[in-house]
């Protein structure tokens, strides 16, 4: 019995050592990048990278993610759009949005333009609070400010509400602003750093899949490009058999690469959403969406 355990522990250590070695070999000594971020330049470089990688695509095609990556996927998308699986959630979202809270107020009272056609402005940097505010966060804050319990960030009601709000903004280009406040720039930079940082035992960063390998497969899934990747959110994902929000995707991506997910709407995720939305400025909101 103890001999068996010793072989096992040897294997465990070897695998841990291998993990370490992979990390060590993977770490490149980079040229030191400029320390002051230039978001506008970043966004331009980001867009150019993807348009050069996929020259046949129009800019707005990127919002369809994997469906724009090859002919077969594109045909599936066209079929799916005729009877989108998110229809039920969208209807529920519309109903929920117009129903008043117990105190008589409604979501319309919490948002500019009564909450209609504003999704493309989220997330934004709140200079009073000094933090990034996402749409999901704003919705739960609206509920709590009106005496209602908050929803789970990852699915069901939150997905239905954000589906409806995205739908009212369909076609409008992402219009994320970074005010002159240095904290906003820091949040942007945090988001960018999160995006490119490797994590989890599988040692992937968001970029590993969505910058280095869009259009290629991870197991059976075709990977989406990072450009426009949030434009279709929230999504009905066949893999989930249901709707999921940006929070759901961030947390599940983390656990898929064997990293313990943070809490939905933790600072890192809010900043990540800020960065990813900003570099997709100009691309149209297409949500809610459907994915394999």
């Amino acid at each position: 019995m103890s001999g068996e355990v010793n072989v096992r522990s040897a294997i465990h250590f070897a695998s841990a050592a291998l993990a370490l070695a992979v990390l060590a070999f993977g770490a490149i000594q980079p040229a030191v990048a400029a320390d002051t971020p230039d978001p506008a330049a970043d966004a331009k470089a980001f867009r150019n990278y993807f348009t050069q990688k996929f020259p046949k695509l129009k800019l707005e095609d990127f919002v369809n993610g994997p469906y724009s990556m090859n002919e077969d996927m594109h045909r599936q998308w066209e079929e799916k759009e005729q009877f989108p699986p998110y229809d039920f959630s969208l209807d529920m979202g519309k109903e929920m949005f117009s129903k008043p809270f117990k105190n008589g107020k409604s979501y319309a009272d919490c948002f500019p333009n009564k909450g209609i056609g504003i999704r493309q402005n989220y997330p934004y940097f709140d200079e009073k609070e000094g933090k990034v505010i996402t749409l999901e966060l704003a919705l739960n804050r609206c509920r709590e400010a009106n005496g209602e319990p908050p929803f789970s960030y990852v699915k069901d009601e939150m997905a239905a509400l954000t589906a409806y709000m995205a739908f009212t903004s369909r076609g409008k280009p992402f219009d994320i602003k970074i005010p002159g406040d240095p904290r906003a720039l820091e949040a942007y930079q945090n988001g960018k750093r999160y995006f490119y940082t490797r994590r989890g035992q599988l040692n992937f960063s968001c970029a590993t899949c969505h910058v280095q390998s869009p259009g290629e497969r991870i197991r059976a899934e075709v990977l989406a490009p990072a450009l426009g990747i949030l434009n279709a959110m929230p999504i009905y994902r066949s893999e989930w058999g249901g709707m999921g929000t940006i929070s759901r995707r961030f947390t599940t991506c983390n656990s898929q690469i064997r990293g313990v997910p943070l809490n939905p709407q933790d600072d890192e995720y809010r900043d990540l959403e800020y960065y990813l939305s900003y570099v997709s400025n100009g691309l149209p909101i297409s949500g809610p969406g459907a994915r394999p």
Partner: protein, 103 residues
């Protein structure tokens, strides 16, 4: 309660193409919930499309069909303005029916 069946039927020449999206949990009976207990099977067993008093498409489904199933098929015949009747029955005896006009 709103219908669980969304349908679009388009007549073109000699055939009519039908698409339908049905809202149903389609629980297979093999999946466990967060507490570790089996979610009991709850799935559509029979789905029928009728035109002019005859069945043009009948599906015998089981636990292998996923949630919110989508169906697409074509049948010979069908004229614009005619009725197409869709109904389903599930393993718990639940049913729903709707009638749509062929476009």
């Amino acid at each position: 309660m709103a219908s669980t069946i969304r349908v679009r039927a388009i007549a073109s020449g000699e055939t009519t193409e039908v698409q339908a999206l049905i809202q149903h949990p389609m629980d297979s009976g093999f999946v466990k919930d967060a507490k570790g207990e089996i979610i009991p099977p709850h799935f559509i067993q029979e789905l029928t499309f009728e035109y002019d008093g005859k069945s043009v498409f009948v599906a015998d489904w089981g636990p292998a069909v996923s949630k919110d199933p989508y169906v697409k098929f074509s049948f010979k015949g069908g004229k614009k303005g005619d009725d197409l009747k869709i109904s389903w029955v599930d393993n718990k005896g639940g049913t729903d029916t709707t009638t749509a006009k062929i476009q």
